[in-house]
């Protein structure tokens, strides 16, 4: 392409006599004479300062253009059919501290919580026996022409056991596949499995299996349901494996941010570079045969303000990484050491009583500016996650009279 452009520019020059006439054939190859594009006008040997400046400016624009093209291709900004970008935003507007995305299911926009800690995607359905409030209309399977029931003696229904911990059962009409999902915080959803057309950004998924929730209660805010991004056969990631190859990523914005982050499905985790991100550091997922649906990582260290926390518990137990849990829970001995170092470095600020699981709180209402120690988590293989400054402290009261370290302890070491 670069050569072609040079020839085209030569053609645009003023005098026909300037066209390159000299060509020859040698060993089966055709050799064309090549001249500078300004050769014909003579300006190549007699450039004014302005012309020189223009040439340099043109050259700079050209280089920037090439670099941008390369950057866009590498960063995946020019999306391939196997990669899909969906806006993700804080669920605060839906009274949830989780993150939400809007997808289209059965032709209707549906806003759901993004949860890597569970597998079944479900939405509240009509007719509903026990549903919480949601601003979006309830999904009505009877008016979706593409909706189909999952029958109870099907292989799909049998995957419920590994995906949810509860086996599917035959519903009232002895055909429906009834499901039950109980979450760790006491929330639950019950209903039947169905299949419908799902649109994720620019990608369509036919016959996507999801839960039609008829009995739902718990900490879902006003979201219409939940998107399960776990590892079982029933998760969205497994159901779209052929399209997206089992790769996805997200970038969660702070709750105060009005603009959204992104959930990216697909791409190549080894070569993809995200716009405005630092280089990616990887750690291996641990295999936990008892809890195969979770994403387990090996936490090998924590630093507070650059000081490494010493604890024999590091590297011994896996940590689950979950988008559906809000506050990080650390094993007690690690938490105690982290808390002690944080207090050492965050000294001088008045203490305040704790709230709920947060036991390290301060009254910062008298301060316009505070210096917050950095928190870094290190994982097997050298991967590191530096906690963003917005993720270190949890502002309980908006006047900053109660601000807490946004970390909590498990009750006991092998909980």
């Amino acid at each position: 392409r670069l050569q072609l452009k040079t020839l085209q520019r030569t053609h645009q020059s003023n005098s026909p006599s300037c066209y390159s006439q000299k060509s020859k054939s040698e060993n089966g190859a055709t050799i064309l004479e090549m001249q500078h594009k300004d050769y014909c006008s003579g300006s190549v040997t007699n450039m004014s300062r302005n012309h020189q400046k223009q040439v340099i400016t043109d050259d700079d624009i050209r280089v920037r253009s090439i670099q941008d093209s390369i950057k866009n291709i590498i960063s995946g900004k020019i999306e391939t059919s196997s990669q899909n970008n969906i806006p993700i935003s804080s669920g605060v507007k839906l009274h949830s501290l989780n993150y939400i995305v809007t997808v289209t299911l059965g032709g209707r926009n549906t806003t759901v919580i993004v949860d890597t800690g569970s597998d079944l995607t479900w939405i509240q359905c009509q007719p509903c026996r026990l549903c919480y409030n949601q601003p979006e209309p309830l999904f009505n399977p009877s008016v979706s022409p593409t909706y189909r029931k999952v029958i109870c003696n099907s292989s799909v229904c049998q995957t419920l056991q590994s995906a949810t911990g509860n086996s599917g059962s035959c519903g009232n009409d002895l055909q429906d596949c009834s499901y039950v999902v109980n979450y760790g915080d006491g929330s639950y959803t019950r209903g039947e499995l169905g299949q419908d057309h799902l649109v994720l950004g620019s990608t369509s998924v036919e016959n996507f299996v999801f839960g039609c929730g008829r009995n739902n209660k718990g900490l879902f805010g006003l979201a219409s349901g939940l998107m399960g991004l776990g590892r079982s056969d029933l998760s969205l990631i497994s159901q779209t494996f052929e399209t997206f190859g089992g790769v996805f990523s997200y970038c969660l914005p702070s709750a105060e941010a009005k603009s959204s982050g992104s959930l990216v499905l697909g791409g190549d985790s080894n070569t993809t570079i995200f716009k405005n991100s630092t280089p990616i550091s990887y750690t291996r997922m641990l295999a936990n045969p008892q809890l195969v649906t979770f994403y387990f990582l090996n936490l090998t260290g924590v630093t507070i303000g650059g000081v490494a926390i010493q604890d024999s518990a590091f590297g011994k137990t896996g940590m689950i990484i979950d988008s559906g849990t809000v506050i990080t829970r650390l094993p007690p001995t690690i938490y105690k050491a982290v808390k002690a170092e944080f207090l050492k470095q965050f000294s001088g600020y008045p203490f305040k009583q704790g709230v709920s699981i947060l036991d390290t709180c301060f009254d910062l209402s008298a301060y316009e500016e505070v210096s917050i120690p950095t928190v870094k988590m290190q994982f097997e293989g050298g991967a590191e996650m530096e906690v963003d400054v917005t993720g270190v402290l949890f502002i309980v009261k908006s006047d900053a009279s109660q601000v807490c370290l946004a970390l909590a302890s498990l009750q006991y070491d092998d909980e």
């Binding site: 990523s249 969660l252 991100s277 630092t278 940590m319 993720g391």
Partner: protein, 31 residues
């Protein structure tokens, strides 16, 4: 078993690759 919650994952690109069994992290301004 500890859990890394979403509050600490803000403004970080978290990449999951089931096929290669790896999770990646990169700093990113998400908004």
């Amino acid at each position: 078993i500890g859990i890394i919650g979403n509050y600490q994952q803000k403004n970080t690109r978290v990449i999951y690759d089931i096929k290669q069994s790896q999770v990646g992290f990169a700093k990113e301004t998400c908004s």
